[in-house]
Every structure is written in C-alpha cells, then in structure tokens.
C-alpha cells in the first residue's frame, strides 16, 4: 500500500466527516424549524411570519453549527491532527501523508512507510466524529411533538386579520367621469350589550347582525358632497352626518331589511341594494333527559326522583325554575297545589349551556299514594329589555295507589257499595220514616238516640250544602221565606242569561269560600245602597257574586238550608214526625236546584220573539218577502305588476331583444316597487331581484348584459307569485253552420 493511497483514504474520511456534519446540522436545523413553527403558531396565524420565524431560527442554528464546526475552512490538516490525537498507533506521523514523497527525508520516508502500513490496518476502525444519532433523536422527538401538538395549539394572542375593506365598486354605480364616488366604506356592527359580543367591522355591504345591534356606516367620498342618505326599505331614510373625513349614519336594527346609499353632488347617485339580515335571539332550549314524560312510581319504590335538565341559549341564560303542581284526591274532590322550585345544582342558572339538576322527594312534596305531580321547566335568557322565555312540555309523575278500593256497581249484588260520604236528604227521610214505623218496637232511649243521629246527619248535610253557598257558620244561615223561591216571576232573568262564572266548575270554589266568612247579605244590601254604581259594575270579588249559582238558585239553596235547619231541630228534639215536612220541603228544593242547573245550556240558546196568537196557523204569508244579500267576493290578483313584468321578460327573452324601451323600464319599475315589499320580508331571497331590476331600469347595462339580466330575473319574479287553487274558466267553441245542422239532424233522428 502506498502513501498516495493513504492520502486518498484520508480525503475520503474527510469528505465523510463533512457529510456527517452536514446531515447532523440539517437534522438539528429541521428540528428547530418544527419547534419554532409550533411556537409561532401559538402567537400568530400569519403564514409569512411563521415561515420567517421558524426558518430564521433553523438557519441561525445551522449557521451556528457550521461556524462552530468550521466546516467551510475544514482542511485535511485538521483531520490529520484529529487522527494523530485520537489514534496513537499513527505516532503523530499522519501528516507525512500530506507531504510529497520526494521531499521527505530518508527517515521521514521510513516513518511514512511504517505509518502507512499501520494506517491501512487502522482504516476500517477509524470513527468519524459526529452527532447524527443525537440529531436524529432530536428530530424524531420534534416531529412527533409537532404532529401531536399542532392540532391543539391555538394562538395565545390572536392577531387581527388584515383589515379587509369593503369592495366599493359594488357601492358605486357606473357613473360618468367627474362624479363623486365612494372611496371607502366602513360598517361597524355593535351587538347589544347582553350578547357580550364585540363590535365588528363588516367585510361586505350585505350585513348580518344580531337582533338589536347598532350599525354605524362610515363613508368616505372622493370629493365633497351636498347630502348623503341611507335609504332603508320600509323605514324613513337616515341622513349621513359629516364627521372629519367621512360621513356617518347610525341605525338600530331589529328586523331584516335592505338599504341603499344615496349621495348628492349636484346629481343624485344611488348605490345597488344591500341586504340586512338579522340573527334572531333564540329562546332558551331545554331538554329533560333523566325522566320520561310519564313516570309511575309505586309507594314501595325509592321516593326520590332525579331531574336532570340541559338548558342552553345562544347568548346566555339568566334564570330557570321548575313549576310543579301536586294534585291530590280524585274525581270531584281533586285539589291542586302549585309550587315553584329551584334547581339544586347549580342554584343560580347562568351561562350559555347549563346542566341543572334537582331531586324530587315525593314525600317531601306532600304526595300520597294516588297523587300526581305535574311539572315543567321554564327558563329565561339574558335578552333585554324582555328576556326570551321557553318551557318544556308538562311531565307527569304519578304515585300509584296500590290500595285503592275499586267501586263496583253490579246489579246482582243488591248492595250499594258506593262510599257513603254523607247521607242524602232522601236517605234521611227514609230513615226518619223507618224510625217512626219502628217507634213501638224500639225503646225510648234507642228512639231518641236514632233521632239524634239522624239530626246529626241532617246537620252534616246542611253544612255540606252550606259550603256550596260559601257559608260555613251556622249563624249565617238565617231564616228565609219559602215565597222567595216559589215565585217564578221574581226571578232575575238578567242574571240567568248574564255573565256567570264557574258555573260548572263548582268544586274548585270550595276552598275559596272560606275567604269571606263574615260577609253577610245584609251588608251587601247596605253596600248597594251606599254605592249606586255597584249595580252597574261587574264585581268579581264579592263573595256573594262569586258563587257558581245564579240568584234564584242561591235563594232556593238558602231556603233549603233554613228548612234543613228546622228539620234538624225537630230531630234533635226527638220529634221526627214534625221534622218530616221540613225534610220533604228540603228534598223538593234540592231537586229544583239540580233541575235549574241542568237547563243552563238550554237557556242560552236562541230566544225567539213571542208569537202573536191571532196570527198563528192563518197561512198568511203576505208579510214574508224575498230576502237578498249582495256581496263582492272576487279577490284581486296579487302582484299584478310582477305578473306583467314576468310576461314582458318572457317576451323579451323569446325575441332575444337587447333593447329596453321606456315602457319596458316603466313596467320593471312598477314591478320593483312590488318586489321591494316582498324583499323586506325575505331580503336574502329577493334582494338580488331588486338589484337586477334596478340595473335594467338604469341605463347602465350593455346590450349583452340585458339578456343575462332578463334570464336572471325570470326565476325570481316567478317565485314571488303564489300558488293558487285552480279556477273554473269558460271553454271556447267555434260555431259552424255544420255543427248546428248536425245537432238538428241528431235531434230529428232521436224523435224518429
């Protein structure tokens, strides 16, 4: 092996070293770029910034490493030094490879020969210094880290996008040279405070704003103008006020609409139509997830029921509650109790989305078997001045009554199993008559005791009916003359046909009657005398008036109670025989009362005028005349101008006509007026049509454009027209002499 081959190998080793270093630097630099990119993502979204930042760091690292390794000034000498210092076998003589063989002294040649042999044996073992594994490790870690984190990193300080300006070419109508044009327009939308949204600048002249937003138009013109207005569909126009370099107009927007800018520089210029869409503040959304709408619970079950409701709103909730109603009893004696309950977790409802919960403790709510709980959840949002309100469907929780006795009415049993709440008047009469019959069989004590018991029953019955009348205390039931109710002519007819509350819903009034215990008839009469207006007033609060019975029935009931009182008196005095006539009277009165109630509906019907008896059945129809009624029912056709315009569009399109006459434009103008009314309701759908019509009306379209515009307006005009039901129409026929001859011959044939 010669020295020259060793020199060559040293060259190879040096190149390999350089290659390794470059790989190492590239890996390190790439790692730094990834990390720097990740970091930059936290601060900004700007691509250029991120590119400059990350590649700058990557480059800096690369430069630093290159300089530190001195790669550009790396020579063979340095590599020889490395070999000499790291491989003692070369006896610090590796630099002899670099010197020309001829210029070596004899000793040097000898040494070179020796070192060459050693170098050859050493060559495969020479390790090139590098940090590629470390660099690769760093790169892999950086890459994995980047992949994992890149999706989640959001800018900590979101930079504002480059301010997008509105394209004013849409605002400026195509005007002649020298006319004042809009140079810049800024539309600032300030949503209402409760939305907690920031003011934004619209990037388009078509704006979409939250309901109740304040919108500020700031317009810069190319030159001074006389006036500028904001023309608003369905509203008065708003004048622009000159401020510094611009003109400003401010508007509070709560309904969808569209607008135009109009300015006057000696000549009036009007922009195209732009739409204003309003984002409605939605009502809160409530869903109950933990309970089904109908839940049945038996008393042996766990009596706590969890209520979990998810409440959400677009801007925020302010309040929510549960309205629970407990119904107790059944049938006629059902009672309701309403309670407003708060959620237990969280107690205060706020935020855009809340999961609220509460546990119903059935026993704490005072529910007993057979009772039912009806509840719904209601919520309000933070809208001002009037918050949006929404509520859920009513949910039902029924506490089952497993011990409920089923009542059976079976003819075969012969025994009345109906629960005996109290004895009826008829029953008391039967029992009294039975007592009188069995008087001889019974002992005096037994007789008196039974009579007393019957008296008690009579009292219970009286008190029960007294409740209907709103009277609780015995003392209130004064003596009443029977004549009051027997005389039909004294009935208050006006009261019978008048405004009577809750006539059928009598049981609901049971509890209310207790509110006016000391109210007496006399005091009422007194009051009437004192206040003459009361006769003409509709007074709901009077305890007397609040009863469900009309005056005549009230009188009868009062009389019945008075008679019951007498009946009880004689029963208590152990004189059932004397009591019986009073009992019969009471029964008769009670029957009449029930009959009076039944004819209520019948009496509200048509009340015909009384017949003249002398005219009855005389067959005299002379005064009966033909009646007639004249009406004009035909409905005017909707959107007549739009219809005409559509017909015109069809004609122009079929003729491929590019020229619009003044008459055509006038028709389009009229159609635009009708379309504007529709566009106010649905600007997103029809505003484009209005713009097209404006272009057609203004002389600002080329002949080529006319056809395109006509094709574009066609579907819009057509979609405005409503679908109507079919209408019968008269068919057309041409009468020819032959037809008539044919019919004549046909008739003749038939007769033949």
């Amino acid at each position: 092996m010669s020295i020259s081959s060793s020199t060559h190998k040293i060259n190879q080793l040096k190149n390999r070293y350089l290659l390794f270093r470059w790989i190492e630097i590239c890996l390190l630099s790439a790692s730094c770029i990834l990390i720097a990119w990740l970091v930059s993502m936290m601060f900004t979204n700007f691509l250029i910034f991120k590119l400059v930042f990350s590649f700058g760091i990557g480059l800096a690292i690369a430069v630093w490493r290159v300089l530190s390794y001195r790669l550009f000034s790396f020579s063979k000498q340095k590599f020889i030094t490395y070999l000499n210092s790291h491989y003692p076998q070369l006896e610090e003589s590796a630099d002899l490879f670099l010197i020309e063989h001829d210029s070596l002294s004899g000793l040097q040649q000898l040494q070179a020969q020796r070192v060459t042999q050693r170098f050859d044996s050493l060559y495969p073992e020479i390790k090139i210094p590098n940090a590629i594994p470390q660099s690769t490790g760093i790169f892999v870690i950086s890459l994995v880290g980047y992949i994992l984190l890149a999706s989640f990193v959001t800018p900590l300080f979101p930079t504002k996008n480059k301010k997008l300006t509105i394209d004013v070419s849409k605002v400026n109508p195509t005007v002649e040279k020298g006319a004042v044009t809009v140079n810049n327009i800024v539309i600032t939308v300030t949503p209402p405070a409760y939305t907690k949204s920031r003011s934004t600048e619209s990037i388009s002249t078509d704006i979409k704003v939250p309901e109740g937003s304040n919108v500020l138009w700031s317009v810069q013109f190319s030159d001074s103008i006389k006036t500028a207005n904001l023309l608003l569909a369905g509203n008065d126009s708003v004048n622009f006020i000159a401020k510094k370099n611009s003109y400003q107009a401010n508007l509070f927007i709560s309904t969808p609409s569209f607008y135009q800018l109009q300015w006057n520089d000696g000549k009036l210029h009007t922009s195209d139509y732009f739409k204003i869409e309003v984002i409605k503040d939605e009502s809160p959304k409530i869903s109950i997830t933990s309970l089904s709408q109908f839940t049945k619970v038996s008393f042996v079950d766990q009596l706590t029921l969890p209520l979990k409701a998810t409440l959400s709103d677009d801007y925020g909730l302010t309040n929510a509650s549960i309205i629970a109603t407990v119904s107790k009893g059944s049938g006629e004696s059902v009672k309701f109790r309403e309670e407003k309950l708060r959620f237990e977790n969280p107690i205060n409802i706020s935020g855009k989305q809340v999961t609220a919960s509460r546990t119903f403790n059935v026993s704490k709510l005072g529910m007993e078997p057979g009772d039912e709980l009806y509840f719904y959840v209601e919520a309000w949002d933070n809208k001002t001045p009037t918050p949006n309100y929404s509520r859920t469907e009513t949910f039902f929780i029924a506490l089952q009554d497993t011990t409920k006795q089923e009542t059976v009415e079976d003819e075969g049993l012969g025994v009345d199993l109906m629960p005996e709440y109290f004895r009826s008047q008829r029953q008391i009469i039967i029992d009294t008559e039975k007592l009188l019959k069995e008087r001889k069989k019974k002992s005096v004590h037994e007789f008196k005791s039974t009579s007393n018991e019957l008296g008690y029953d009579q009292k219970v019955l009286r008190l029960k009916y007294g409740q209907f009348l709103g009277e609780e205390f015995v003392g209130q039931i004064g003596p009443a003359s029977v004549e009051v109710y027997t005389d039909e002519r004294t009935e208050d007819v006006a009261a019978k046909f008048g405004h009577v509350h809750d006539k059928e819903n009598e049981h609901n009034l049971l509890a209310d009657k207790k509110e006016s215990p000391t109210h007496s008839h006399e005091s009422e009469k007194k009051g009437e005398e004192e206040n003459p207006l009361e006769a003409f007033a509709h007074n709901h609060d009077s305890g007397e008036e609040a009863t469900f019975f009309v005056q005549s029935v009230r009188a009868k009931l009062k009389a019945a109670l008075a008679v019951m009182w007498d009946a009880e008196l004689y029963l208590r005095l152990y004189e059932p025989a004397k009591s019986l006539p009073y009992q019969y009277t009471a029964l008769k009165l009670l029957k009449e009362i029930s009959n009076d109630s039944r004819i209520y509906v019948h009496r509200t019907g048509f009340d015909p005028p009384p017949l003249k008896e002398e005219k009855r059945l005389t067959a005299d129809l002379s005064e009966i005349k033909n009646a007639s009624n004249k009406t004009v029912k035909a409905k005017d056709e909707l959107y007549q101008e739009i219809r005409k315009a559509l017909t015109l569009v069809e004609l122009l399109l079929s003729e491929q006509s590019n020229l619009l006459t003044a008459q055509n434009k006038n028709q389009f103008r009229k159609a635009a007026q009708e379309l504007a009314v529709v566009a106010v309701e649905q600007p997103a759908r029809y505003l484009r049509g209005l713009s097209i019509l404006k272009k057609l009306i203004d002389n600002k379209t080329t002949k080529k454009e006319v056809n395109l515009l006509l094709s574009a307006i066609r579907p819009i005009l057509s979609s405005v027209l409503p679908s109507e039901p079919a209408s019968p129409s008269k068919n057309k026929i041409t009468v020819h002499a032959l037809d008539q001859q044919f019919l004549k011959s046909l008739e003749e044939l038939k007769h033949d």
């Binding site: 004609l651 079929s654 066609r714 679908s723 039901p725 129409s729 008269k730 057309k732 008739e747």
Partner: protein, 579 residues
C-alpha cells in the same frame, strides 16, 4: 308489350255508339244503293272510314313497358345496406338524394322535392309532411329511430293554476335524466336507467297567463341538451252561474263561495216558502228569477240545482230549462239523494250500487267521500270523475248543452280541512266541462304540429262565417282560398321567417292564434319520428320491394294514323264513281 287498350272518348260512349252505328249503317246502305263496281272494296273502305272516325273520337291508348324503372330518394340517416339491396333488386332504379343526405354511389343531388318524378322509394328519415301529398305514392324504408323525445303530447290548452299534463315517449341511449324547466326553475323531472323507449309524464302548474318558453333538459354521461317548447297560458273567462236549491246545504254554500271567490258571477236562490226565495248575489247585480224561462236563463253559463229542485219544477219550467240546455246552457245537478225512477227528462238515469263511499285521488293524495249508493245507468254519460268502480261525476250531451251530475257528498270537508287546492281540483273540471262554452265566430287551426321550423310551409285553416275573412300573419295579410267541399272553411299557407313567437289573427276575432317557431337544432328527434310515422302511413305495401319492378306507361295511338286512314278510304269512295 301491349297489355290493354283504354279509350278516352270525347263524347259519352252511348252517343258515340248510336252515332257510329247510324253512320256506318247509312254509309253501307248508301254504297250498296249506288250500284257501281268495286262493291266489296267500297264496303271495306266504309268500314275503314267508320273505324278511323271512331279512332278520332274514342282516342284509344295502350299500355307499354317504359324504359325507366323509377326513382329512389335518399333522405338523411338512410341505411346504406337497405339502399344496396334495393339497387340490386331493381338495377334500373335511378338514385337521387336530398341536400342533407349523405352521398351514395352515383346518386344525384336534387335541389327541390318538387322536381321528383316517378318516385318509387324513399329511404331514410322520409319526406317532410308538406311534400307527401305531391310525391305520393311511394314505398318508405325508414331509418333507425333517433335518440331523444320521439313523441310529445301537450294538453290542448294550458290553464293557469291547474295541473297541466304533458306526456310523451323518450328513446334513451343510456342512463338519462330529463328535466322540465319553467320560469321558476325545475318544474318536474324523470330519469331513465337504461337504453330503450320509455313513456314519460310531466306536470306543470303555470302561475301566470301569457306566452312562456319552457325547456326540456336531457343529460346523460356523454352529452346534455336543452330544447325550448312553447306554453301559451290563456286568460280565464269568468262564468255566470245560477244556483237554485230548495234549501242551503253546506255543500252548495261552499261551492257558491268557491265560485264567487274566483270572480265568477253567482246568483244563489234558496227556497224559503212556496213562492218566496232568498237570493244571494256575488259579483253581480241584483236580478230576480222567480221562474225558469229561456229568456231568464239566456245570460247564464251554468245552472246548479239539486235533484229535489228539479223534481219540484213545473212542467213548463222543465221544458224551458231543457230547451235552454239544448241551446247550449250547462245544467249541473247536485244529488243529495236518489229519487225513485223519474220520468223527468232532466234527470240522469241511475241504478243501485253496492257501495256508498268512493275513494278518489286529488293532487297527490287519496280521499274517501260519501257518495250516492248508485251508478249511472246510461252509456251516453261522459265521465269527468271516476274511480275503478263507477262514474262519480259526468255529463250527458243534450243538444248543444250538457246535463252534468255530481254524486260525491260532503266535498266541503276539503275546504274545512284547509285543502283548497284539492277542492278546486275536484270542482273545476266539473264546472268547466258542463258550463256553456264561449262561442266564437271564427277559429284558426294550424295543420303542422310542434315543432315548426323556419322556411317550411305552414298551412293554416280558418273556420269563419264571414263572406271573405281576412287573415293576418304577424299583421301581414294572407290570401285564403275557400274549401271546395266544406262551406266557411278556408285555407292559407305561409312561411315563418324567424325563430320565436308568431301569430295569426283574423279581423273578426280579437284573440290571435299564437305559435312558436323553433330553432332547427332543437326537437330534431321529435321531427324525425313524426316524419317517419307520416311517411309510413303514406307508404305503399312493401311486399313488391324485393321483386323487380316493371314500369309501364300508357301511349296513345297517333290521331294522324286515323286521319290518314280516313282520308285514304274516303278518297277511295270519292274516286270509285270516276273510274
């Protein structure tokens, strides 16, 4: 080869026979009486004279084989194989082709279809309608059916706010979507999954009267096309209706309100007592109609009555009403019940039927209505509404008018349910078909069916009672010729000069007849299919196609020959006494 001799006598044959026998007898008798020599020769000369005179008067001709075997006309899309076979079977056929047909061998190009003579065969798409009569008869060998719409049947009239049905046939090349585009976009669509001929039905509901251009868009994997078709939505003509019922039922009240809301003039009469009525006038002036007479009913288009009112009419009123119907009035009977067999000429004959409900389809839904447990007992009833079992509403022609009936009950429920559209769909055809028709003195009809192209003759037929009706085509007067056979029936021909809407109008009628001239690139498949059908109908039997055709022609015997014979024989008779 002479097949037969035919004569073309100048005078009726019996006169010639009598005259010639008389002449011949007189000549023979005369020659015989002369008592000179050459009797036999003179008799021969007399016979020759007689024959030559007969020859001059009878003008005989005979059929001989002609030199040419006819012409075969090649029209676009002809199949070369067919023409090859034809030419092989008939080598003497002359082949000509139209301007738009592909070249074939030594076929000659013809500039006009009028220049064709001795046409034997037409191959390809065929001759256009207008030249079929001129070049008839011929045998037609049609080309392959073109892809696209090959049949198109629009309704006779397009009505606003009504469902108008267009049917047709589509020859699909591959999976194709067909869309019907209206002024507001896609109105209806259908698709075909494979190659073949498929029927299609489109529904359109125009919202506005006037002239509109709808289009059919077809799209498949390889191509898409759009072709316009005309839709003329005629304005509505309001009706004048008289409703006379014994008592106001919900059915009649809702019908009255429906008709009145649509702008029709309605007078409703409800009987209060024997001679007293309650009148309700909607969109009309107050007019009292105490009894039904021809004069009182003349102004109305439709009378709506219930069956009980019909029965309660006096015989005089019945006759007057019947005569009014014969003169064109529409009478609609709303049946509340079926009366036992009535002899009333205004009643519709009914027979019992097992079911008292009927299920019918209105718009896209099915509805069940109570109905009379009866069905019509006459073959003369034209149906308006019917289901699988029976006719539920229809009419009977009576003179120029109609007697209609409606047996469905409680149709007002539709209105109560807010189904105004379905209610209108149910009642509109009944009212329209029974009501008196608007009489016009003139009518314009086009012989050509859609599509019509430029530079093609358009034949227009006019019915007009005027002595000399004046027809205008786009305000240019068009000459008319009256039909040879039918009185008051006129014909005219014009050529459309441009694509778009055109109109024919007649001086006596203010309403023009509009028609649309299509772009020649559109509706080609329909035109070819129509042409093929028309040519097939006009074509002769094809049995003789494969046989060689012997062309014959009729040749007259020269009159000069008879004249010379006459001269020679007459000269001989004159010369004989001088010899």
């Amino acid at each position: 080869m002479i097949d037969s001799v035919t004569l073309q006598p100048v005078f009726p044959l019996w006169i010639i026979a009598v005259a010639s026998i008389s002449l011949f007898s007189w000549l023979v008798w005369n020659e015989y009486k002369r008592m000179i020599k050459f009797l036999l020769w003179r008799l021969v000369a007399v016979i020759i004279v007689s024959i030559s005179i007969l020859g001059l008067i009878l003008q005989p001709s005979w059929q001989i084989e002609s030199g040419s075997n006819g012409m075969v006309l090649l029209t676009p899309h002809y199949e070369t194989k067919t023409v090859d076979s034809l030419v092989i079977a008939n080598p003497s056929l002359v082949t000509v082709r139209t301007m738009d047909a592909e070249p074939y061998g030594k076929s000659e190009l013809i500039s006009s279809l009028n220049k064709i003579s001795n046409l034997r065969f037409v191959v390809g798409d065929g001759l256009p309608d207008y030249s079929l009569e001129v070049n008839h008869p011929f045998s037609y060998l049609k080309s392959k059916m073109p892809y696209g719409i090959i049949r198109w049947t629009p309704p006779t009239l397009f009505r606003a706010n009504q469902q108008n049905e267009i049917t047709g046939l589509f020859y699909a090349k591959e999976k194709t979507i067909l869309k019907l585009m209206g002024p507001s976009g896609v109105e209806d669509s259908t698709s075909f999954s494979k190659e073949g001929i498929f029927p299609f039905t489109f529904h359109i509901v125009p919202k506005q009267t006037g002239l509109f251009l709808y289009s059919i868009e077809s799209k498949n994997d390889s191509e898409s096309s759009s072709q316009k078709f005309p839709v003329e939505v005629l304005p509505e003509r309001k009706l004048k209706i008289f409703i006379s019922v014994k008592y106001p039922t919900a059915e009649v009240r809702y019908l009255k309100n429906f008709l009145a809301e649509k702008g029709n003039s309605v007078i409703a009469r409800f009987q209060v007592s024997k001679n007293n009525y309650r009148y309700e006038y909607s969109n009309t002036n107050e007019v009292r109609i105490n009894s039904l007479s021809i004069a009182a009913l003349k102004s109305f288009d439709l009378i709506v009555v219930d069956n009980e009112s019909i029965e309660a009419l006096s015989s005089l009123e019945q006759n007057q009403l019947l005569e009014s119907v014969r003169q064109g009035l529409g009478l609609l009977i709303v049946y509340n019940s079926i009366t036992s067999k009535s002899t009333n000429p205004l009643q519709i004959p009914f027979k019992n039927f097992k079911s008292d409900t009927a299920r019918i389809r209105l718009a896209s839904s099915y509805f069940t209505f109570p109905t009379l447990p009866a069905t019509v007992d006459s073959n003369a009833i034209e149906s308006i509404i019917q289901n699988k079992e029976r006719i539920l509403a229809g009419y009977l022609n009576k003179g120029a008018g109609k007697i209609g009936f409606q047996s469905l009950q409680e149709t007002y429920r539709l209105q109560l349910e807010g189904r105004d559209t379905e209610y209108a769909i149910l009642w509109t055809p009944i009212i329209e078909q029974v009501a008196k028709r608007h009489e016009t003195k003139s009518k314009i009809e086009l012989e050509q069916s859609f599509p019509i192209y430029t530079d093609e003759p358009i034949t227009v037929n006019v019915i007009s009672s005027e002595a000399a009706p004046k027809l205008f085509s786009n305000s240019i007067a068009l000459p008319l010729r009256e039909d040879v056979i039918i009185d008051d029936y006129w014909h005219g021909t014009t050529w459309a000069d441009g694509i778009g809407w055109h109109a024919f109008s007649i001086q006596e009628d203010s309403i023009p007849k509009n028609y649309y001239v299509s772009n020649r690139t559109e509706w080609q498949s329909l035109r070819i299919a129509q042409q093929q059908r028309a040519n097939s109908l006009a074509s002769q039997s094809k049995k003789s196609i494969t046989k060689a055709i012997i062309n014959t022609e009729r040749e007259s015997i020269p009159q000069l020959l008879f004249y010379l014979l006459f001269l020679i024989s007459a000269g001989f008779l004159w010369l004989v006494p001088k010899l």
